[in-house]
């Protein structure tokens, strides 16, 4: 489903300092319905890997194939279309739009003319147990509730791949567990691929694979 082959990424630095290599010749294949955890210390490239896999950033070398198309070669508009239609993103912060209600926030990724959007949003809110908060604004919610709303937004277009970058880092244990359970439930229900980057290995229990990145560039991939 989603396949990264020999991708390399290095960040340029100012002046004459040499670039910092984050990934070098990294390969990863994620199948449909697979749950993959990405872990490693800070600076090891977890977020960068998720950005690459999600088409938010282009590698300097290698290819990332999704649905038979190399994301590296697509235009920004084409990439945006793929992200919106097939990918769902959850970040450490919720990034809900503060002038929209929860329900409206969830519907933000919907396409114009999508008559089912409101119905789907309502079901998602029920699924995530925040249906009663649909008309509230983000500032009226707790941290856990906001993150659930952010998860609902990520799932709005029934993505085939869900990429979550430290989705529980700002939550307490109970909320973190709940959010991960919801992501897992969606993944199982829809047969989507779930890729989660986190420091917390306990959140990755039950995952099909865990990829551990090291700042040195070493990669461990274990089932």
């Amino acid at each position: 489903m989603l396949c990264a082959r020999e991708i390399s990424l290095a960040y340029r630095r100012r002046g004459r300092l040499p670039p910092v290599a984050v990934l070098a010749g990294f390969s990863l294949t994620v199948g449909a319905g697979e749950r993959v955890g990405v872990t490693g210390p800070s600076g090891s490239g977890k977020s960068s890997l998720l950005h690459l896999l999600g088409g938010l950033r282009r590698p300097q070398a290698g290819e990332i194939v999704f649905g038979g198309r190399d994301l590296v070669r697509l235009s920004p508009t084409e990439l945006g279309e793929i992200r919106r239609r097939h990918f769902g993103f959850v970040f450490q912060q919720h990034f809900l739009l503060n002038y929209l209600t929860v329900e409206e926030n969830v519907m933000v990724p919907a396409f114009p003319g999508d008559g089912e959007a409101a119905h789907r949003a309502a079901r998602l809110l029920e699924f995530l147990d925040i249906a009663g908060l649909a008309r509230r604004f983000p500032h009226e919610l707790s941290g856990g509730q906001r993150q659930r709303a952010a998860v609902a937004r990520a799932l709005m277009n029934r993505p085939e791949v869900v990429l979550a970058d430290e989705p529980t880092a700002s939550l307490d244990r109970a909320n973190a567990t709940a959010v991960m359970a919801l992501l897992g439930a969606y993944q199982q229900q829809e047969g989507a691929a779930l890729i989660v980057a986190t420091h917390d290995l306990t959140l990755l229990e039950g995952f099909d694979r865990v990829v551990t990145l090291q700042p040195s560039g070493e990669v461990t991939d274990h089932a």
Binding site: S44, L56, R83, Q93, P109
Partner: protein
Amino acid sequence: MPDLTVLYCRRRWPRLALMALVVAVGVTGTLLLNSIFASFGQTRDLIFSSRTGYLVELTYPRGAADPGSVAELVGPKTRVIAGRAFNLSYPLFGTAVAGMVAYALPAADIECLLDHLGLTVDGRGDLLLPSSQALALGMGVGDTLVENRFQAGAYRVGGVITGRPWVALLPIELAPAQSPEVVLVLAPPGKAAELESLLRSAGLPGQPYIWGPAASWVATRRDYAEYLAISLALGLLVAGAVTLAASLLRQADYRARRDEMTILAVIGYPRRWLIRRAGLELALEMVGGWPAGAALGAALVGRLNDLLYRPRGMVVAADPGVIGPTLLIPGVLIVVSLLAVTAVVRRDALEGLKPAGLGRGG
């Protein structure tokens, strides 16, 4: 998909703050443009000949001319009664000269002039141009009937002025850069031929007309400097106060807006859509704020005129003239803002996610 542009109006304060900023820009722009255009005014000299009793006004291209040497052209006993002056009217749309004439001679002086000509206010119908014709000539500067008539005369619209000598503005087609562009001669009735001869002998071709007692007041460099200083002070005061208040609100909103752009781009909204939306919102704010700012600026100029300049027989910077040029301001602002938005969308949203707090996980 919710209509984000419409729904963003729920956040009234940031939006109103930006509009207030635009208003301030409009005010400042109007005042400053007023000053700038005023500074484009031509250099004039009013020369009074004690021998002939003529008052001669010479208008030069900007930065040219030596009034002393020109004074010699008129006659040895000619003296410069006001020194070099600066025209405070607009050199736009052909109204500059007419405006200048009207401004140089306050309405009271024009009345006096007309009295000398044996014309009463009621008896001046034959001097009056139809308003449509005056407007076609760009004569919208003066705000009194007398001034309008005077401007009409200044343009010497042929037979419309019933053959009575009135005001002549003589385009002097002299090659040297030091030559005056126009010469306005105010001559006593019956003396036109004599003055014409005098000017011709001095090498200034043309047809002088009209008697004039003397201009009672002439704008000077100091007046211009004063006006500029007041405009700047007012503009900066308004802009500073509003900017201070509005920027506090905008500052609070900036990060939210940047994050919004980022998350929308991440979700997959096309860049063009984001930029178009930002442009539309900016344009709406400009449409709301700029006219108010320009109107406020124009009102301030008018108030300045009323308080300071009209009592001294001068009108600074006709209000309508500055509206057109200030139209450029919102256009420039929109373009600059869009460039900034484009840069932010490109840099922050897709390539540099960290500024928005995404991807800090390592």
